[in-house]
């Protein structure tokens, strides 16, 4: 079925919606709403709305549409590309959509599912599932739902697999950006876990989209009808999607599911207000930092680990030798600052991985892992491992401490060169091009004489190269290098943005990856669902 009808909601008066008018008032009282984690600066805008219900949101959408005012949507404002940073018109914060709505077992799929409003954050979901304590449901639910809760409590523990580093991100935001995390290596990005969406279109009406019900017609079309009988015809783009983790541009595939058009669309087509996600049983894990002699040895080991089918890793991440040097320097200044024992002096790179582990199993040997690591010229003795909660947290802290360390270095240099900022890439390539892209990075950075550190999702060939410019001349060189890296990644069949999205900051990179015809196809989808281009102006499409 490729036809779907949007439904109106009971509306309320526009004047009932809590709001702040005037840019001066907004910037004085609500400065946090002027930017996101990218620190990208907004342009002046006139209204800030805090709707508390679908009725209020619908009233805002209708009124803004009537007045022709453009709307930017904000979730938890944790994005890295300025997606929720307004450049005109109105900003609508969805922070009051913060209730967990349901937890149920879907019998046909044999899967536990959680349904929540868009502003519930990932940390809260993780904590509620872990404690099996969901107060929103218990407060408001009927008898059937409470029975389902009882059943859930008797089950083994469950978790929601996507784990973006920023756990204060809102669920809706992570769906709008198809967010990824370390565990994407095993479990895929957010897209793989979304089972249903409720989306408000720019006309103020709703679509309820379960996964698996609405597919593009053989001619590649969706038809959305509104309650007044108007049809919006959407022709899905025809360009091929990269074979990598990807958040650049609009998802497309032959016979695609309508739900996938909205996931990762950065708010271009509608406002996600409710999300249903799938859960998985949580098994105990052991987390390992494997120290290696060089970045090249790390890449070879990544390829060997991926090739060994007996090893199932949840995540596969890396620190380059230069990243370890930065942390060693930090440890030299303050031994406790990194929260771990000293990083071994001989280590010239590190891989992080996590796999199933039962601490009580006395017969565990991990022969396959041992063989692969030894085959790569390394030893399991040169590692740190953790399986107790507090120790897992300690290693997770170690995995996440590098960006903070880099930010501190940049902040120090900014005192001398105020215009300075770090430059972090978000490029990914297919498996077989990992070694090639690494060679491009290495030669480019060495040739330019820049200071850099690399970390991130090497298992997905998605390493963030962070350049630390020492002055404005360095920054200039770095920007040129980034463009060259992006072009190479695309040439290798990869993407210009694997997880951060395009937003406003990376709109120019879209042209590196997509032909003018492909971008025109994306614009046509936008135009079909949002004819007056009112929603999230500037995201994905420049200008």
């Amino acid at each position: 079925m490729h036809e779907i009808t949007s439904r109106p909601v009971a509306t309320c008066g526009f004047d009932d919606v809590r709001r702040v008018d005037g840019f001066e008032n907004i910037s004085a009282a609500y400065p946090a709403y002027l930017t996101d984690e990218s620190k990208f600066s907004c342009r002046p805008f006139d209204h800030l709305f805090f709707p508390r219900s679908e009725a209020e949101l619908s009233a805002v959408m209708e009124e803004m549409a009537r007045r022709g005012i453009k709307i930017t949507i904000a979730g938890a404002r944790t994005g890295l590309v300025g997606g929720c940073v307004p450049n005109q018109g109105a900003l609508v914060s969805l922070e009051n959509f913060d209730r967990v709505l349901a937890l149920y077992h879907d019998a046909p799929a044999a899967e536990w599912r959680l349904k929540a409003q868009c502003a519930v954050n990932l940390r809260s979901i993780a904590a509620q599932l872990s404690a099996k304590n969901l107060p929103d449901i218990e407060r408001c639910a009927d008898g059937m739902t409470l029975l389902e809760m009882d059943r859930f409590r008797r089950e083994p523990p469950y978790f929601y697999p996507p784990d973006p580093t920023e756990m204060s991100a809102s669920l809706g935001g992570t769906v709008a950006t198809n967010a990824s995390g370390a565990r994407t290596f095993r479990y895929g990005p957010t897209r793989a876990w979304v089972r249903g969406l409720r989306v408000m279109l720019v006309n103020g009406e709703f679509l309820d989209i379960p996964r698996g019900r609405y597919f593009a017609s053989p001619s590649g079309e969706f038809v959305v009808s509104d309650s007044a009988g108007r049809d919006y015809r959407v022709k899905i783009p025809t360009y091929p999607s990269p074979r990598t983790k990807n958040t650049s541009g609009i998802f497309t595939a032959p016979h695609m599911d309508l739900i996938d058009l909205f996931i990762g669309s950065e708010g271009a087509f509608g406002v996600i207000t409710e999300v249903t996600v799938g859960l998985l049983p949580r098994r105990p894990k052991i987390s390992i930092v494997q120290f290696l002699q060089s970045d090249e040895q790390a890449i070879a080991l990544v390829q060997a680990l991926r090739a060994e089918s007996r090893i199932r890793l949840d995540l596969l991440e890396s620190y380059s030798g230069s990243a370890l040097d930065l942390l060693r320097e930090r440890q030299r200044r303050d031994a406790r600052s990194v929260g771990t024992p000293p990083i071994p002096e001989t280590a010239g790179a590190a891989l992080f991985f996590e796999l199933d582990f039962d601490p009580a199993d006395k017969t565990v040997t991990m022969d396959a892992l041992d063989a692969v690591v030894r085959g790569g010229g390394a030893s399991l003795s040169d590692s740190w491992s953790a399986y107790e909660n507090r120790e897992l947290e300690r290693l997770k802290g170690f995995r996440h401490i590098l960006p903070e360390t880099i930010n501190a270095v940049i902040a120090e240099r900014k005192k001398k060169h105020p215009g300075l900022h770090k430059l972090g890439t978000d490029l990914a390539v297919p498996d077989e091009r990992l070694r090639d892209i690494w060679a491009v990075y290495r030669e480019g950075l060495a040739g330019a004489g820049l200071e850099w550190a690399a970390f991130g999702h090497i298992g997905n060939n998605h390493v963030h190269i962070n350049i630390l410019p020492r002055d404005m001349a360095d920054l200039e060189k770095a920007l040129g290098l980034y463009q060259m890296f992006a072009e190479k990644a695309v040439e290798f069949g990869g993407t210009v943005s694997a997880e951060h999205g395009i937003g406003k900051l990376k709109a120019k990179f879209l042209k590196t990856m997509f032909s003018p015809e492909a971008i025109a196809e994306m614009r046509a989808v936008k135009k079909a669902l949002d004819p007056n281009l009112l929603l999230n102006p500037g995201n994905i499409f420049e200008g």
Partner: protein, 265 residues
């Protein structure tokens, strides 16, 4: 040469909540860990062993069967073998009954001990009594709150740097001796995956009360001189009084008047 390290499994109290009605700890869902001070003690043992591979490090614990996981961690961190003494008869043991039991385990399972190490206290009970009591029972010299230790060149004595209120002092004790460990500059180790796997092949002996040379009247509640009558959280501290917006002379007057009124001076 043998070093025995007495360890305890404790709840991971960083995220423990208190039941507001009963005032007791909510233990449900709280993980159990090796008491951090015991881990520092073990760390000293492993350092001493690094200087002399001939030393055998034996971790010893009294606790329920699940305390095995704390001993597994000791084996991962470098202990050569471990002994768990576990029995229903130990239930309700106070510090004295615990010390008596552990001393009996040491006599039986590590009879050649040259040094006994312990954490300065457990983070759940916080009594800091079991270590000193073991020393008394075994007739050993004791040094508490150690942050560094090394054998003297003739290996007849242990030299210990320990924390005192005014700073540090360095003491020497003849061996065998009992030393308890404080935190100092210690950074908890991270075992390698090879260590974790090897630990599961090391000896972890489980014994019961029947294996010890003690009478029933010396065990658990029966052998205890003290009993916990009630556990309750301390009164939350109030914020105190803060003087603001005064010049220093005025503030000094106010403070002096307060101290006089309350008879502090």
């Amino acid at each position: 040469m043998q070093i025995a390290v007495c360890v305890k499994q404790v709840p991971e109290i960083t995220n423990v909540r208190v039941n507001p009605e009963t005032g007791t700890l909510i233990r449900e869902g709280v993980a159990s860990i090796l008491n951090p001070f015991c881990e520092y003690a073990l760390d000293h043992a492993v350092r001493l062993k690094n200087g002399d591979p001939g030393i055998e490090v034996v971790a010893v614990s009294m606790g329920p069967p699940q305390a095995e996981s704390a001993l597994l961690r000791c084996l991962e961190l470098g202990a050569d073998r471990a002994v768990l003494v576990s029995d229903r008869q130990f239930a309700g043991a106070d510090t004295w009954a615990t010390a008596l039991t552990l001393a009996a385990v040491l006599r039986k399972e590590v009879p050649g001990y040259d040094l006994v190490l312990a954490g300065k206290q457990a983070i759940d009970g916080d009594t800091a009594q079991v270590g000193p009591e073991i020393a008394e029972i075994l007739g050993l010299p004791q040094v508490m709150y150690a942050v560094e230790m090394s054998f003297t060149p003739n290996r007849k004595r242990i030299r210990v740097k320990r924390e005192v209120e005014s700073g540090h002092e360095v003491l020497e004790a003849r061996l065998p001796a009992l030393v308890s460990a404080s935190k100092g500059d210690a950074m908890r180790r991270m075992p390698s995956l090879a260590d974790v796997l090897a630990a599961r092949r090391k000896e972890l002996r489980k014994i019961t009360a029947a294996d010890l040379d003690l009478s029933e009247s010396e065990l658990g509640l029966a052998g205890s001189y003290t009993q916990v009558v009630k556990v309750f959280p301390p009164e939350p501290k109030s914020g105190g009084r803060k003087l603001e917006g005064l010049d220093p002379a005025q503030a000094a007057h106010e403070i002096a008047a307060f101290l006089r009124a309350e008879r502090y001076v």
